[in-house]
Assembly symmetry: C2
Homo-oligomer: 325 residues x 2
DNA sequence: TTGTAGGCGTTATCAA
DNA sequence: TTGATAACGCCTACAA
């Protein structure tokens, strides 16, 4: 393995000079430069980032911590992060919490051991994990971003979509399409978050009406339980706050020979490939997952570089119109 | 930042002893052990993996190189890798080639700079990239696995699904369901790979019949071009060698009021969430993506640890029956 | 059972 | 413009 010293010897300079050339901070003489370049080529030198990290006390590794990667929701965010980090020559560690079987403190310790430059936590809107560890994060003073968590600001940068706006846009779209009896359908959404959506709905309806709230429970049979309930209440438009559930509801409606859109419209929160391949294709509120990843990465990089950064970034959702409403 | 030396001083022992305790290879006296433990707790010591890596000349970092992570096909494999690596306390770097904009040599250099312990390349069946760099990989002598590439053995461990078997199973299933005029539909599949599928088909039909081969071209309109072609040829079963295409074909059939299964059956190669949410749900040949990731990781670990490992691992596909055939 | 000393490959601080 | 020297935090002969 060729080291910097080997290059120095081969080029008849000191290791120090080679290092300076490589980091091109201070100028070296044209002639020595040529000699060094030749040595590097001849010996096939590859710098050792690990040694550099030890000496400089910094790495170019950012960690993403998420529940699971084989989920389009998270992987789109991750791809955005990867794109931005790659552009800035940072490496991306991925840790799947579901697989890792570590508690918060252990994960944090893992990050410290590996001298991670920054951590991006991706979670659900409602995720409040890592709350207890906040103290540890503070003490260690490492750059952190919470991505996709609609939680109160706790001193750590937050990047998330504007849920009130999303809900308002969605409701407006349903009204625009002539729907008037709307249901808000969700799955495991805690009350304080549901409030955001209700607020958005009220903004759109100008307080003229209230949505019917329906919660999908685990293992619930949509065709049997949900669809009849929708019909009994004369619902003509459902805003589903979970993309996969929107897909399954649509399937249930089709199966029950209810015309999607004409009889009951379906609007999905979230716009991944799933909405596109659903039949009929789902109209949805796009939450900008890739952009969310990009922004999160940018904020981590700003922190690492001690530049100023926005503590809270709120992304604007938009409607993508397809066939379901 | 607390170092091993600090612990040593605080516990009145030498750094050497602390190191020995931490690596628990050689026994230390119970009493000193207690003192060290106390010191570690009191000072909040976290080992520095980077320093260790430099000294030992090895890291616990494995890199996965793939086209893009926001694709269920790749992310399922990656999740399997992550699961296995996590279990063995290895870290996972993810590099998206589509984002990185680096050529093979540059990626390899990146791996060397970072002292990556092993590389898993995930690609398409037909992917032959990194061919030119094989020499560099050889020279560096780093553990490598090609995952999901059905390519000839070139000295590097291969893990891939048995495509002939997959095709045979698929064709048998179609025959079993009373389908006799079968089309093999693919997208960008090179001839040598298509041969595998034709071989599998022949095995199933015992040479009694030939499948019709149809290639989907980019930007092709399935309802307009494909469906009529299927009807003209009296095709009653289509084996689609690309999951997303299977979903779109199914949509096209439904749209054309052709009964999926009764009129034309659809069988998908690949079993991700997409097949499940399609309407009707697609019967498919499961290629065991997660398992593929797990095996790839196991083989990388065996290589890293200089244990014996299978040069070629071929996974057995199986049928998952749903509604489309 | 424990300690001493040297080095992994790099960079920072001086001085020349 | 360059070089000598000493770290960064850890591990490992070897010696005690």
């Amino acid at each position: 393995m060729t080291t910097l010293k080997d290059i120095a010897k081969h080029a008849n300079v000191s290791a120090c000079t080679v290092s300076r050339y490589l980091n091109s901070d201070i100028v070296v003489k044209k002639e020595t430069e040529a000699r060094i370049q030749r040595a590097i080529k001849e010996l096939g030198y590859v710098p050792n980032v690990v040694a550099k990290a030890l000496k400089r006390n910094e790495t170019f590794n950012v960690a993403v911590i998420l529940p699971k990667i084989n989920n389009l929701y998270y992987s789109e965010i991750t791809s955005g992060i990867s794109q931005t980090l790659g552009k800035h020559h940072y490496n991306l560690f991925v840790y799947e919490v579901d697989n890792l079987n570590l508690n918060e403190d252990e994960i944090l310790q893992l990050m410290r051991e590996n001298m991670i430059a920054g951590i991006i936590f991706i979670g659900l809107f409602s995720d409040v994990s890592f709350k207890e560890s906040i103290q540890s994060v503070f003490e260690w003073n490492i750059p952190v971003v919470y991505a996709n968590r609609c939680i109160p600001y706790n001193g750590f940068p937050l990047v998330y979509p504007d849920l009130v706006k999303a809900s308002k846009l969605g409701a407006e779209h349903l009204f625009l399409k002539g729907k008037s009896k709307i249901a808000l359908m969700h799955k495991n959404l805690p009350n304080h978050l549901l409030e955001y959506f209700i607020d958005g709905f009220n903004l759109a309806s100008k307080g003229q009406q209230k949505p019917m709230i329906m919660e999908i429970e685990d293992g619930m049979d949509l065709p049997k339980n949900c669809v009849p309930h929708l019909l009994e209440n004369n619902i003509d438009g459902v805003f589903v706050l979970n993309e996969l559930s929107a897909v399954y509801l649509t399937k249930a409606l089709v199966q029950a020979k209810i015309r999607v859109f004409e009889d009951i419209a379906v609007l999905s929160l979230g716009n991944s490939l799933m909405s596109q391949i659903s039949t009929p294709e789902l109209t949805c509120v796009d939450l900008q997952n890739r952009e969310l990843g990009i922004r999160s990465a940018e904020i981590i990089l700003s922190q690492i570089r001690k530049q100023v950064f926005e503590p809270i970034t709120i992304l604007e959702p938009f409607i993508v119109e397809r066939k379901s409403v």
